[in-house]
């Protein structure tokens, strides 16, 4: 590979890891341009262009060579990987790493999954459900029901996501089954159904997506912001539909 091809490859890989981990597009563009500018030893480059949307990254190093791009298919939330790529690009721009080292450490980052074990994440989802139940005005009676429903919701979402890979359907099924459990438990303990259900879906609501969408729009990346906002609306709609199905079946 020639020098420029390596630079292209490294910047595309860095951008791909960050976008798949759920970073804002402006941050991805900034990081990629930092890497390219330092690798080419130029301060203000007028022939290099990067264009990042939520679904794809486009880079052009030089007019004669054409444009390279990658497609982003899956997106999750992994702030650890964003931080790691940021750290690497910063130490590369500071002159502490060579391009080859950057490429190798990026490859290791893209291979590894979350550093938290699965059981810890499941426990955390349960505790999150419990604290959301209490924080939004639930009583202590509702706590066990909310935690159980939240645990079931999170588990079902994980399983459905692994098995069918259909994003909105997984949320729908999780909300429906979790809501059914919440309904059964609250009829037994005569608790407050509304706050229990709020706690049950709390680990799944698209909070990060909404925030990132707004930040994208503030950074004038209107396309990415709208796509992310639409995704958040659809996820919230799927959760609402799942809970509404419970209402239709058991209450109305």
């Amino acid at each position: 590979m020639t020098d420029k091809e390596i630079i292209l490859e490294v910047s595309l890989l860095a951008g791909k890891i960050m976008l798949e981990s759920g970073a804002e597009t402006s941050r991805v563009e900034d990081t990629m341009e930092r890497i390219i500018r330092h690798a080419l030893h130029v301060e203000q480059d007028t022939t290099t262009y990067t264009y990042v949307t939520v679904n794809g990254i486009f880079v052009q190093l030089d007019h004669s060579k054409g444009t390279n791009f990658v497609r982003i298919d899956s997106r999750g939330h992994n702030l650890e990987r964003i931080t790691a790529v940021n750290q690497i690009s910063r130490s590369f721009a500071g002159g502490d790493m060579t391009l080859r080292e950057v490429y190798e450490s990026l490859l290791t980052i893209s291979g590894e999954d979350s550093s938290y074990p699965l059981w810890l994440r499941i426990i955390c989802a349960t505790v999150l459900s419990g604290s959301v139940v209490l924080i939004f005005g639930g009583r202590f009676v509702d706590l066990p029901a909310g935690m159980a429903a939240g645990l079931l919701c999170y588990l079902i979402h994980l399983v459905a996501w692994r098995v069918i890979k259909a994003s909105f359907f997984a949320e729908y099924v999780a909300a429906f089954i979790g809501g059914t459990l919440a309904y059964c438990l609250t009829t037994v303990s005569s608790g407050n159904l509304d706050s229990v259900m709020m706690g049950a879906v709390a680990p799944l609501v698209p909070g990060i997506a909404i925030t990132t969408a707004i930040r994208d729009i503030m950074a004038k990346h209107y396309l990415s912001g709208l796509i992310r906002g639409l995704e958040a609306i659809f996820i919230a709609g799927a959760l609402g539909t799942g809970i509404a199905t419970v209402y239709y079946i058991f209450i109305l």
């Binding site: 955390c124 999150l128 709020m198 709390a202 909070g207 990060i208 919230a236 539909t241």
Partner: protein, 151 residues
């Protein structure tokens, strides 16, 4: 009252930390993220207790959160969002938008409309708070704004 305050501090700390684990925040920033989240939630809760309205509460909460997150990100040398996102969980209009959709599907149309307007107000308030914190920090530290540099 003291009991209420203590309960809210503990709960917001717990929810920030647990959400941080779910979204895979680096281990080093977990505790700081919890403290940042507590600061933001106390702002939101205190204002909603005095009926300040959803826009003002979200704005002040996001401003406090972002200022605390700026300080934390300078201390830890990590991106701002690592501290900002976990603290925003209880405030971010994800839960209200889910509630609005549920009201829409169970034929409570006026509640749903009210809910969606609340979601929009809250989202705009959060953004305004974030931008205001960025401007404040830039004035203090002459720091780079969010977004790309002007060409």
């Amino acid at each position: 009252m003291v009991y209420q305050i203590c309960l809210n501090i503990v709960l917001s700390f717990l929810s920030s930390i647990t959400f941080a684990v779910i979204s895979n925040v680096p281990r080093k920033s977990l505790l700081t993220g919890g403290i940042v989240g507590t600061i933001g939630w106390l702002g939101f809760w205190g204002l909603s207790l005095h009926h300040a309205g959803i826009f003002l509460s979200s704005f002040v909460c996001s401003l406090l959160l972002a200022l605390a997150a700026h300080v934390a990100s300078r201390l830890h040398k990590m991106p701002l969002i690592v501290f900002y996102i976990p603290g925003l969980v209880p405030v971010v209009p994800g839960i209200s938008s889910y509630e609005a959709f549920r009201a829409l599907l169970t034929h409570h149309y006026s509640t749903a409309m009210f809910g969606f307007i609340n979601v929009i107000f809250s989202a705009v308030g959060i953004t305004c708070g974030l931008v205001a914190a960025d401007i404040v920090m830039r004035l203090v530290f002459s720091y780079k704004l969010v977004g790309r540099r002007t060409p």
